[in-house]
Every structure is written in C-alpha cells, then in structure tokens.
C-alpha cells in the first residue's frame, strides 16, 4: 500500500534540486567582487535612516485575520460540497446557516470599517 502522496515526495526532491542546480551553476560562472557600497542596503543610493522596523499598521493584521477565519470556514465547507449529492435536503439549510454566520462576520468587519484601507 503506497500513499497517493508518494509522487509528491519524489517531486519535492527534484523541485529542490532545480534551485540548487541553478544557484550552484551561477555561483561557478558569476563574478564575485563585493565591496561595502554594493553590500549596503538599497535605498536609492542613500544609507537607510533609522531601523528597518518602522511601525506597521495593524490593518495588515486585520486582513490576515479575515483570511484565517474564511479559510477555516472553507475547509469545513469542502466536505459538505463533496458529499452534497448524497446528503438529504436539510444539508442545504445547515450549510446556509453556516454561510450566513460567515457572512455575518464579513458584514461586521465591513460595518466596523475594519476592511477600509485608510
């Protein structure tokens, strides 16, 4: 009994050989003449002022949050969608309730302006 993922395993090995081969070959043929100016951080030729860790807006986090919630809901909807033809009619109602609660989350975020990029 061989897992259906066996091919994915073989492919991972080969897929990681591709960048290794590419980078390795480039390492052989490319010029290597580093100097401090080349290795400085790119900022239109000027040195970076202050640290890289400027304060980011929590807005980014809210989008990631919405994504996590919808992703989990999608994972629970997929078995429903696969089994849908074998399920009795009330499965539609169950799923509609599920999706309605999901839509409620979207409406809440929308009303609270959490989705606005200001």
């Amino acid at each position: 009994m061989l897992s259906e993922f066996a091919f994915v395993g073989v492919l991972i090995v080969f897929a990681s050989l591709l960048p290794i081969a590419g980078l390795g070959f480039a390492w052989l043929v490319r010029p290597k003449k580093p100097n401090p100016i080349k290795k400085s951080t790119y900022e239109c030729g000027l040195e970076t002022i202050g640290g890289t860790w400027v304060q980011f807006r929590a807005q980014y986090y809210i989008f990631a949050l919405m994504f996590v919630v919808f992703d989990v809901e999608a994972v629970f909807l997929l078995p429903w969608a696969v089994a849908y033809d074998q399920l009795p009619a009330y499965a539609l109602i169950e799923a509609v309730i599920f999706i309605a609660i999901l839509a409620l989350a979207l409406v809440y975020a929308w009303r609270k302006d959490a989705l606005r990029w200001s």
Partner: protein
C-alpha cells in the same frame, strides 16, 4: 531491494527530524522570527505525518490552515510588535530550568506509561484499508456532528469580532 516498510520508516525518520528539530528550534531560537520559521518546519513535518497515515484531507488542511494561514498571522504579529526584533533581550524567563526539569520528568513518565498500555490495535485487514473519504467526512460532519459544525462558525465569528475590537487602532 527497497521494501514498502523500509520506505515508510525512512520517510518517518526524515519527518521526525523535521518535526522535532523544528520544535527544538522553536523553543531554543533567540530570534522570534526564526522561531516562527522553525514552527513552520515542524508543522510541515506534521503534514508529512498525516500523508504517511493516509489522512490526505487532514494533511492538506494542515498545510492550508497552519502553514498558509496561522503561520502568516504569527509572522505578521511578530513584525507588528516592532521593538521585539531589535532588542536583543533574553528570551527565557528565570524559571526556565524548573520548566526544563518538569518537562523532562513528564516526558519520561509519558514514555513509560505509553509503553505499558496494551493498545487495542485493529486487525490486519482493517489496518490495510482505512476507509475514510472526504465525502464520508462531509456526511458525518452534517449528520451526527451537525451542532459542532455550526458552533465552529459561531466560534470563528466570535474570535473575529473580538480580534477586530482588540487589534483596531483607536
């Protein structure tokens, strides 16, 4: 000649190195961002475990939710709390060695206890053909587990509402 069992054991060993090595990185790395990346490594190992255990749907769900969603959320949160990265502070609290002792004790006890239990392993025939498809999962999810199924969406709604209230800039 490679037998099926040898391949399975080889894969198991590689995945264990990934999972436990990643876990070790999570708790020992001084840089939080590296910690989170080690967590991803560990979780990808768990994806492999599920694939090896013939739980294909769970393997992909683990990859989607943990690696694709939760890990991104954690990395965002780390980047949002800016000063953490720059400050090279101690990552361990003062009681870490007590924690280490306790955890070591727990581990030894677990190993001994798990070894003594006589697990009611299913018979050979049942082990060969684990009989679970995504369609069956769906039927059970909308049948006997209907209430938890709906509750999950309520839970997620609650988590979202709470998190938006907390994380919004006022």
């Amino acid at each position: 000649m490679l037998t099926n069992q040898m391949v399975q054991i080889l894969v198991f060993v590689i995945l264990t190195i990934m999972t436990l090595g990643g876990g070790l990185g999570v708790v020992s790395s001084r840089n939080l961002f590296h910690s989170a990346l080690f967590l991803v490594l560990s979780l990808v190992g768990v994806v492999g475990y599920y694939a090896l255990l013939d739980a294909g749907f769970l393997a992909v769900v683990q990859l989607l939710i943990y690696v694709g969603a939760i890990a991104v959320l954690i990395l965002f949160a780390i980047m949002l709390s800016r000063g953490l990265m720059a400050r090279r502070q101690h990552q361990r609290n003062e009681q870490w060695w007590i924690a280490a002792l306790v955890v070591l004790l727990v581990f030894v006890v677990l190993l001994v206890v798990l070894g003594q239990v006589d697990w009611p392993v299913a018979d050979e025939q049942a082990l060969l053909s684990p009989n679970v498809s995504v369609g069956q999962l769906g039927q059970v999810l909308l049948g006997p587990y209907m209430i938890p199924f709906e509750v999950i969406s309520v839970l997620l709604l609650a988590a979202l509402v709470g998190a938006i209230i907390l994380a919004r800039e006022t």
